[in-house]
């Protein structure tokens, strides 16, 4: 029986999120999960800052823009999405399966207040760039000393 389990199940089990014991036991006994390759994953992020902007970049190769969801609530920026495995009927004979599929969600606490209405997001070559202009109160201001 053991040798009949596909090899990709083994890899998937390494990244399986263990929520708590109950969930874990539940997941273990759920038989169809053996065939599932779509799991949660965490894309790599860069967050950088200039004088006027905060820039968030995420590596999301092969995504459909419609599947990316960006929300800003109370200074928390959440990027969510799902990378779907293209379903092609004849894609049966896998030699390698290293790319990640499934859903991801990541929330960043923004270090500064940003102008929510001026946020810009673009997707190019598999990289998502979110540009968040800082609020005016963070712009350097020169204060004159009166004599």
């Amino acid at each position: 029986m053991f040798e009949l389990i596909p090899w990709r199940n083994y890899r998937a089990s390494l990244v399986r999120p263990r929520k708590d014991l109950f969930d874990w036991v539940f997941n273990e006994v759920e038989v169809p999960r053996i065939w599932e390759t779509e799991r949660e994953w965490v894309p790599a992020f860069d967050v950088s800052e200039t004088e006027s902007e905060i820039i968030v970049r995420a590596e999301l190769p092969g995504m459909d823009v419609a599947d990316i969801d960006i929300t800003l609530t109370d200074g928390l920026l959440t990027l969510k999405g799902e990378k779907k495995q293209e379903k092609e009927d004849e894609r049966e004979n896998y030699h390698r399966l290293e790319r990640r599929y499934g859903s991801f969600s990541r929330t960043l606490a923004l270090p500064k207040v940003v102008k929510a209405e001026a946020i810009d997001a673009s997707y190019k070559d598999g990289v998502l760039t979110v540009t968040l202009p800082k609020g005016d109160e963070h712009k350097p201001k020169k204060i004159e000393v009166k004599s």
């Binding site: 263990r18 894309p43 800052e49 092969g62 049966e92 598999g126």
Partner: protein
């Protein structure tokens, strides 16, 4: 939350089997390889690479993918969180004589390279008819 146990998926650095002419890390792109009918398809994740910065070389039965990640950070940016590294992608595969090397085609879309490797005539699945007298 389960998020604590999920690891950020960074790039995997390639084994240094050859010297690079430029500084910077070399990563191994994650690939899917599958067969469907007459074609073997290779999908490689190369986020941050534009199609003119990728080079596919077939030589002596070895297919080498080399790609350069465009650094997107400008001078005045200061990192608050840095997980996404830039450098090069490189990975080589040996091709068997089952692949028709003259017919390999490549496309790039949204940071994913797709290579279609048509099977050589002799490796194509063939159905043999049984004749009856």
């Amino acid at each position: 939350m389960s998020d604590k146990e999920l690891q950020v998926r960074g790039k995997q650095e390639a084994p240094a089997d050859r010297e690079q002419t430029r500084p910077g890390p070399v990563f191994m792109p994650a690939v899917d390889i599958f067969e469907s009918g007459d074609v073997i398809t290779l999908l490689a994740d190369v986020p941050g690479v534009s199609s003119d910065r990728i080079n596919i070389d077939v030589r002596e039965d070895q297919l080498t993918i080399t790609a350069e990640i465009d650094p997107q950070k400008s001078e005045e940016e200061r990192y608050l969180l840095h997980e996404y590294e830039t450098g090069m992608y490189q990975r080589a595969f040996s091709l068997s004589d089952r692949v028709d090397q003259s017919k390999i085609s490549a496309t790039m879309k949204d940071g994913v390279l797709r290579l279609d490797l048509p099977k050589a005539e002799k490796a194509k699945p063939r159905r043999i008819e049984v004749k009856t007298d």
